[in-house]
């Protein structure tokens, strides 16, 4: 018989983090419609059509707790998706273990979310230090010795990226000569850049959300700095071009997971981009597929578990899941599975460079997801 | 002859460039009413502000019962027996008259409010003393009938009497009245002058600032006249009335 399965999304729809949260919420709704159009979720004799409830958590931990409590206690939802931001996610993660529910985390990259061994939680986005180590090795290979870091270092996943970066970078005799900070709402980085300019580094590494990072690149050129610029921002071309001209961006590197960019993606990615753009009248943010993939992963896991009620079985099935064809991100399986035993998925890391107005995929960054997964199990 | 309860020696005060008081000296004796008069802006209110501790002096000494007080805070001076009223009626409008006057007793309470709040200590004799003090202050100022009235609805004159009652509740030795009769009509002024004399009769020294000459001449034992922040004359009402410098600066020909 045809039944309805209600799933919930808790994500930032308002406030500063809505840039990440809104596209994620949109992409879950889109995935749900696609799953329904493709015949829903088959469990035994029943097929379940998905129904999505979306609540705003403003990226605030209390709001997120309230939203998820409402989803679970009042709306009777068992599957909760979304989660773009670490603080709100951490708050929910701290109690989800004791609930009859499954939590799928998207863009929130704080490492500790998947180090606590929460069995009913999985995450599609890899932690930042997984990428940072690869980036450190890459920059060292370019021959730089003194590098200045400017970034959102109060945010721990950016800090952990830099930490892993620095560790790899030092291995080949390099040195990080400055750790300058900007806050997520800062748009004027010229004081920090002026200070860095005086130190005459070989290169600059900008680590942070796209919005401020784009300003860092632009203001660096305005201050007459012409050292190579590397970064970890995951911004789309549109996002950068809103802030800086293509000339100002020319030559900038982005060292990050191979998230959605038209050059790097698969057919599934191209289709996603087209469908999303058509439906919402706006290009999807590069990180939004983390949420899209959650919905499909959930579908496959429920079908594998053969139950919608038994959340433990579904959670277990998620950890047994292989990478499925609808996935937009390019996941690197661990022991053949999409999620490792911590519930963590990994994507490939890539080096992208801004060339004449576009992000160009230059090469894959050497990433060892199996080794990192083992390391992750030892944390905490 | 009585001794000086409050002595002012070489008091100076300047506001930025304005020299409001220059080298002012005078004293108040125990149990006397001293008038302080002078043209507008001559520094009378400033003197009261310095004496009461509302403003710090730029120089000079203030001695209360022989102790230097110019470095003390206003509340410490009140506790030592120096209290004041304001030129413009200034009250707590939401309290009842009784609550208002009772607040004046804070200055001489022994039980700390914290101890009282948490019922750590109770002193029946203090409670009685406070009640007595409040009753006495209300009686002196003729506000007994209004004890439970909300201050905000009192008439302007009654609010001025209330300021005096509250000051009296603090057990003062000297009380400074800044234009207490401003805006009063004659029978209210009569009430006031009677009040001032009765206060003096309880042994409290009074400093009165007024522009109403009849009142000043009637209640004061001595008068100090200020002009441009300095004393230009001191003496009995009769002496002041005839003083040509005072007539020229302040009283004018009409008076």
């Amino acid at each position: 018989a045809e039944k309805t399965l209600t799933i919930g999304v808790a994500d930032a729809l308002t406030g500063g983090a809505a840039v990440y949260g809104l596209p994620q919420a949109n992409s879950v709704e889109m995935a749900a419609d696609e799953i329904n159009a493709a015949g829903g979720i088959a469990v035994g004799d029943d097929t379940y059509m998905l129904d999505v409830i979306v609540y705003d958590d403003k990226a605030n931990p209390t709001e997120a707790t309230n939203a998820v409590r409402k989803l679970i206690d009042r709306d009777g939802v068992r599957y909760i998706l979304g989660f773009c931001c670490s603080g709100a996610t951490g708050a929910v993660a701290s109690f989800i273990e004791y609930e009859d529910a499954v939590m799928l985390v998207g863009n929130a990259a704080e490492r500790s979310i998947t180090t606590q061994g929460i069995s009913n939680l999985v995450r599609t986005r890899p932690p930042a230090d997984y990428t940072g180590a690869a980036a450190g090795a890459f920059v060292a290979k370019q021959g730089h010795k003194r590098i200045a870091v400017l970034g959102a270092l109060e945010t721990s996943f950016y800090a952990s990226y830099v930490e892993a970066f620095e560790e790899e970078f030092k291995k080949s005799g390099g040195e990080v000569i400055a750790h300058e900070v900007f806050a997520s709402k800062d748009r004027d980085m010229s004081p920090q850049l002026t200070k860095i300019r005086e130190m005459q580094p070989d290169a600059l590494l900008v680590v942070g959300y796209v919005e401020p990072a784009a300003f860092a690149y632009r203001q660096a050129t305005e201050l007459g700095m012409d050292v190579p610029r590397y970064g970890f921002t995951s911004g789309s071309e549109e996002q950068f071009l809103r802030v800086a001209s293509s000339e100002q961006m020319e030559g900038v590197w982005d060292l990050r997971p191979t998230e959605l960019t038209l050059q790097s993606t698969t057919d599934a990615g191209l289709a996603y981009h087209a469908n999303y753009s058509e439906r919402f009248g706006d290009a999807p943010s590069p990180s939004s597929p983390y949420a899209y993939d959650q919905a499909w992963a959930l579908k496959h896991a429920i079908e594998a578990a053969g139950s919608v009620e038994d959340t433990e079985a579904v959670a277990a099935a998620l950890r047994e899941l292989e990478v499925f064809p609808e996935a937009v991100m390019q996941y690197l399986p661990v022991e053949g599975k999409m999620f490792d035993q911590n519930g963590q998925a990994y994507t490939a890391n890539g080096a992208f460079q801004w060339q004449e107005g576009h992000w160009v995929f230059v090469e894959e960054l050497p990433s060892d997801q199996e080794a990192y997964s083992r390391f992750l199990s030892t944390v905490n | 002859m009585q001794s000086d309860i409050l002595e002012v020696v070489g008091l100076c005060k300047s506001f930025g460039g304005v020299q409001a008081l220059r080298d002012l000296s005078f004293s108040i004796r125990e149990g006397e009413v001293l008038g302080l008069i002078g043209p507008n802006g001559s520094g009378k209110s400033t003197t009261v502000n310095l004496l009461s501790g509302s403003l710090p002096p730029t120089g000079g000494q203030i001695r209360l019962g022989g102790h230097r007080v110019e470095a003390l805070s206003q509340w410490d001076r009140v506790a030592m027996g120096l209290t004041r009223t304001y030129q413009t009626a200034s009250v707590f409008p939401e309290f009842t008259v009784r609550q208002h006057v009772m607040l004046g007793c804070e200055a001489h309470r022994k039980v700390s409010p914290l101890a009282q709040a948490f019922r750590l200590k109770r002193d029946k004799s203090e409670e009685d003393r406070v009640q007595q003090k409040v009753a006495q202050a209300l009686k002196l100022t003729g506000l007994e009938a209004e004890a439970d009235t909300v201050v905000g609805v009192l008439s302007a004159a009654q609010q001025r009497f209330l300021m005096i009652a509250t000051a009296l509740a603090s057990n003062p030795r000297v009380i400074l009245l800044d234009e207490p009769a401003a805006g009063m009509i004659s029978h209210e002024r009569e009430t006031l002058s009677g009040m001032i004399r009765r206060i003096r009769d309880t042994g409290i020294s009074v400093l009165v600032i007024e522009h109403h000459m009849a009142l000043i001449m009637e209640v004061c034992d001595r008068i100090v006249v200020l002009n441009f922040g300095a004393s230009i004359a001191q003496g009995t009402p009769a002496q002041i009335r005839e003083n040509p410098a005072v007539i020229d600066a302040y009283l004018g020909e009409a008076a």
Binding site: T14, G16, V19, R187, P191, E211, T221, G224, D282 | -
Partner: protein, 285 residues
């Protein structure tokens, strides 16, 4: 030396924006005693609107700014009439709560109309001037000049025109102003129109120099209030001095002490000034 000079230049541009925000706040505060917390969000509305007209409707920048100014002024007038006027006689805390409510509403409206993505108003000022190692982007120069011109215009308006004098009179003594024959019902409307216009100008500057995004307005208004306190509540010269001091302090703090704690340092400077001069740098005792 170039470093210090560069930092000071960095600070002046942002300081200019602070000054404009603070001016808008200070005249409203001076006349109505309202801490107009929604000012930042209203400024951002103006910036968004300019962006929308330029980037999506193809208006030339100057025309777009003019339209945004007019719309902003109307919005300011409506805010005064519909939200602040009804609470004029209540406690000032109530006006503050109304301001908070308005902030939420305007932020919500901005989000509905203009989305969550950060927005940068496109300009073609891309040159960078460089003198002896100190660089000054063309756009920053324009912002500094425009801010200076607006400050001057505002000062002349208040000091020299009849309406300006009427505004001051209402600020100093409302009842006496009525007795002069000043229409005191009109003055708040004029004040809000001017305040919002200054705010919109600041919003356009932020939007072209930096970016407009959810939450930026609230951050700005807090800085604006800090400037007010630093310079002296209700004082126009105070807002100017305070704004520049705050901007330069932030730049120097970020450049020479700690970029993470630059706001903390700026606030500490503000509190220190307050301890030494409770009336602010330019305030009357």
């Amino acid at each position: 030396m170039t470093e210090i000079l560069q930092q000071i230049i960095n600070g002046i541009a942002i300081g200019g924006v602070y000054v404009l925000i603070a001016l808008g706040l200070t005249i409203v505060f001076g006349i109505l005693g309202i801490a107009h917390f929604a000012h930042g969000s209203v400024s951002m509305f103006g910036g968004y609107l300019t962006f929308f007209l330029v980037a999506q409707q193809g208006y030339p920048l100057i025309l777009a700014i003019l339209v945004a100014l007019v719309v902003g002024m109307v919005l300011g007038v409506l805010i005064e009439l519909l939200a602040y006027r009804p609470v004029r006689n209540a406690n000032h805390i109530n006006a503050f709560i109304v301001a908070l409510g308005l902030t939420m509403m305007v932020e919500g409206i901005n989000l509905q109309f203009f989305g969550a993505e950060q927005v940068v108003i496109p300009t073609d000022a891309g040159r960078v001037f460089s003198i002896g190692g100190v660089t000054l982007p063309e756009l920053r120069l324009y912002v500094i000049l425009a801010a200076a011109a607006l400050i001057l215009a505002m000062t002349i308006f208040v000091e020299k025109t009849k309406t300006g004098q009427a505004i001051r009179a209402v600020a100093e003594n409302r009842d006496a102003a009525i007795l002069m024959g000043i229409n005191v019902q009109m003055i708040p409307l004029i004040v809000f129109a001017i305040s919002t216009a200054l705010g919109v100008a600041a919003g356009v500057m932020v939007g072209s120099l930096f970016a407009i995004a959810p939450g930026v307005g609230e951050g700005l208004v807090v800085k604006g209030f800090a400037v007010l306190i630093l310079g002296g509540l209700g004082s126009i010269p105070g807002a100017v001095v305070g704004g520049i001091v705050l901007g330069v302090t932030e730049a120097l703090a970020a450049g020479f002490i700690s970029s993470a704690y630059k706001d903390v340092i700026a606030f500490v400077v503000m509190i220190a000034v307050l301890l030494l001069r409770p009336q602010g740098l330019m305030g009357r005792a």
